[in-house]
Amino acid sequence: LCLGRIKGTILPGAPYEYVYGRDQEIIRCPWHGWEFEIATGRTYFNPHRIRVRTYEVTVEPAVDDVRLETFDVTTEGDLVVLHA
């Protein structure tokens, strides 16, 4: 899922109307294109029942700790810590 593209989506509306919104709030699964809300992990089509597991994420000061598996991300000088 982390390889999915981050986009907005076309919002539910009246027949034959296309309204784009939620820009940068939606990640699309790279396989079938299911849309997930990044903030909650919930699918756009069925947020109450179908979602991916989410983890708390915080941005913390950089430390040199070999127990941490790190990934290349862009931060403004700090570490992103995934609390799995």
Partner: protein, 376 residues
């Protein structure tokens, strides 16, 4: 238990033009009499054979006229013997009007038929209800026809054929749905007219050669119309609209919807007005008549099909009287749980057509006086 039969075929007793003539504008009547090469009303045909006995139960031929043309015999063979509280008459010969190249002629025939239906059938027995036949070639004329006779208390449906020039969800047809909704009439499709006249081919590969094949490919058209109705947003735009598919199979429904629901999850944003899984629109808005009921192997598998298809909401009984492949209300179904049986044979149709029970006592005591003996 009384039942409602949602697909019964009334027919003309003699020459169609003789019986329809009084209801046709003089211009059309005289044009037929003067210019029709056969001397009869020109109606196109797909050219297939039909079932045994010229397509009808051997015992359904009245003393004069074809099967389905004699109300007394219809009473004796269907309405009385099976405790039919309502029978929905879907006609026969004139359902082809949608295939005619001349939109005005088609609309005139449909109007004449509707007047004939009201006067010669619906007014003759309180159990008979009818469908407003429309010619979809001219949507404005179709809407006018619904407005003209759709308010008649015995008209409970609007009717077209499976054969078409565009899938029925297309925006071209939406004024028809607006009228259906305004009059509280379900939009009904009956198989037939595919590949005839101006209508498009029976299948994507053209016409099959034989009648037995023709019968089995009907669901292709219904699948097309159904997905079109869902994805063109018809049920979002007309939230009170109901659609009923007659005589085009039923067991295909659930597998079709499984696929559709799965695809909708991935492709939802291409049609963002489809806000719910496709299956949910079907459960709420779409109904299917039962005949010819599928016969799974093993037969008990039918109960699975009924569960998958939410038959307690989506299935309405039909006999197809007096056709050769008539489904008996007594013998066609395997034993069903009573509540489900009641939904299929009575309640679903009562709700679909906005009918009232003719005998109020029935509403409070659903199991009393059952005239139906379970088959098998």
């Amino acid at each position: 238990m009384p039942i409602i039969d949602c697909d019964v075929h009334n027919r003309f007793k003699g020459r169609i033009l003789d019986e329809l003539g009084p209801y046709l504008p003089r211009a059309f009547r005289e044009n037929i009499e003067e210019f029709a090469e056969t001397g009869a009303m020109p109606l196109p045909s797909a050219g297939y054979l039909n079932g045994s006995n010229l397509g009808y139960r051997a015992d359904s031929w009245p003393a004069s006229g074809p099967p389905g043309s004699d109300l007394d015999l219809m009473r004796a063979q269907l309405l009385d013997v099976y405790n039919v509280e309502y029978a929905i008459l879907l006609g026969q010969e004139l359902r082809i009007v949608g295939a005619l190249p001349d939109a005005d002629y088609a609309a005139a025939l449909a109007s004449a038929y509707n007047d004939y239906l009201i006067e010669r059938w619906l007014s003759q027995d309180p159990r008979l209800k009818g469908a407003v036949l429309i010619a979809p070639q001219d949507v404005r004329a179709a809407v006018k026809e619904i407005e003209r006779v759709g308010g008649h208390p015995d008209m409970v449906e609007v009717l077209v054929s499976n054969g078409a020039r565009l899938p029925y969800g297309n925006r071209y047809y939406h004024p028809i749905f607006e009228a259906c909704e305004a009059f509280g009439l379900p939009f009904g499709l009956h198989t037939g007219s595919e590949g005839v006249g101006i209508n498009l081919s029976l299948t994507v590969a053209g016409s099959v050669s034989y009648y037995v094949e023709n019968r089995q490919v009907r669901p292709q058209g219904y699948m097309t119309h159904l997905t079109s109705l869902i994805f063109e947003g018809v049920f979002e735009k007309f939230p009170r609209l109901r659609v009923v598919f007659a005589e085009g199979g039923y067991a295909w429904l659930a597998p079709f919807l499984w696929r559709l629901d799965a695809d909708w999850r991935a492709l939802r944003r291409q049609t963002p007005w489809v806000k719910r899984p496709p299956s949910e629109y079907v459960w709420e808005h779409v109904r299917f008549t039962s005949q010819p009921l599928e016969e799974p192997e093993p037969p008990s598998a039918l109960l699975d099909v009924l569960a998958w298809n939410h038959a307690d909401r989506t299935l309405v009984f039909s006999s197809d009287y007096a056709h050769w492949d008539f489904d008996s209300p007594v013998d066609a179904f395997p034993r069903l749980p009573d509540p489900l049986r009641r939904r299929i044979f009575y309640d679903n149709a009562l709700e679909l057509f906005g009918l009232s029970p003719r005998r109020p006592a029935h509403a409070g005591r659903p199991t009393e006086g059952t005239g139906i003996v379970h088959g098998h």
